[in-house]
Symmetry: C2
């Protein structure tokens, strides 16, 4: 897969950072020494962490060199290193693992969360947020457009698998922590029109679809996808469209 | 309908106050002069408001004398008056209307919100939270148990009507405000067992059902309802049950 695009991802910075802010607001730690931003991306979440925990050593890691470079210039006070959420090891006990919009990309999010909880200091917190939108029209229509264009087989593995249910997450983590809260928030982003819905998902969920097509195919695929999006997201009275975007939040205290 | 029970309502204070705290965290006002707690109940939300806006004149109103009395002894610094959300008039412009878990009880929540927005000072904020759970098993099964017991007709009006959709709320409020955010959060309350699910809704959604039955009928109805709840909310690995509780949040800046 080609590297991530920090500028495209940040086009919707307000909308995306809202979820990171909500996650941070739910972290029950007044202070922390060792804070780790798991899959830090371009550093917007790391910036929030560095501002809230001014005394902490903040480390961000990510698999993408482009994202790490963007993060370094955005948050000079933090340390950024290459690493994968499924395998990265800290130097010592961690007070806060903050995993905003990243664990949906690892092959086994439940095992990744279990592992992170095991690396926490006593009373440490794991805070996780993941988009839970594969059954929303925005994501279902990616697969439908692939089939309509005759690329059903080639793009079969491009869609993200559905997340575990709340009950499954609860059963896996509850025995390992002293406190566990799991909730969903579905935001409604008021966007200028259906094209903006496509732009919103282009650098994330749509990327694995586009990456498997050549330039001409990408254009044809996008036309099929956008027509379906326009139908599924009708304009409201003021001309805008509302993109419903559900996300799951998990806050576990060891 | 008989008066509300502050003590029963407060049994699940942590769970219920969580939504009020989340709503308050989303209010984009650093300070305020006139703050109004719409349908203040026993004062748990008023207490949050008085703590956050220490310089403000905080007024709480409610239709229930028992709730007002509980609120007065809980928050001595606030003023509490009798009033209905659909008709109450402030003395002057209001910086913040805070309506936590109340507007679902007025006959026309959309018109009530429109009216409150019209009473705001410039840049004032209306913050609303309503349970949006009438399609959840906890609430669907109230009507199903009524039918199973032969009280389908007598209890026909006891169920709360579904709320307006996000699109309808958006279309109604967006032209009247400079900023509008609407989102849903579905909490998952880990309760000791199915009986606790019944207790959770007993003082709110279940109350209109029970109020229309005599004591013997209430016992029979509760048995039917609880059996269905036990089936719909299976125990997790640790023996607890997860009560999914979706709520809609609306924050409008005039």
């Amino acid at each position: 897969m080609s590297d991530w695009s920090p500028s495209s991802y940040l086009t919707f910075e307000d909308e995306r950072t809202r979820a990171a802010r909500d996650l941070l607001a739910a972290v029950p730690l007044a202070e922390a020494r060792a804070v780790v931003d798991v899959g830090c991306g371009p550093g917007n979440s790391t910036e929030l962490l560095a501002r809230r925990y001014t005394e902490a050593a903040v480390t961000g890691f990510d698999t993408s060199p482009a994202m790490l470079e963007a993060a370094r210039s955005r948050v000079p006070s933090a340390r950024f290193v290459a690493g994968d959420a499924a395998t990265w090891e800290p130097d010592g006990p961690v007070d806060l693992f903050f995993a905003n919009a990243v664990l949906q990309w690892v092959p086994d999010p439940l095992s990744a969360m279990e592992r992170l909880v095991g690396l926490l200091a006593d009373s440490g917190v794991m805070a996780v947020q993941m988009p839970d939108n594969v059954t929303e029209p925005s994501h279902r229509l990616m697969t439908e457009a692939a089939r309509a264009g005759g690329w059903g087989d080639r793009l079969a593995g491009a869609a993200r698998a559905p997340l575990a249910s709340v009950g499954e997450i609860y059963d896996r983590l509850a025995p390992r922590v002293r406190r566990l809260e799991i909730w969903h928030t579905a935001y409604n982003h008021a966007l200028p029109g259906p094209e903006a819905v496509v732009d919103f998902v282009r650098s994330t969920g749509l990327k694995p679809f586009l990456d498997r097509l050549d330039a001409a195919e990408q254009a044809a695929y996008l036309a099929l996808y956008q027509a379906r999006i326009a139908e599924a997201y009708p304009r409201r009275a003021d001309g805008r469209v509302l993109l419903r975007f559900p996300r799951v939040f998990i806050v576990a205290v060891r």
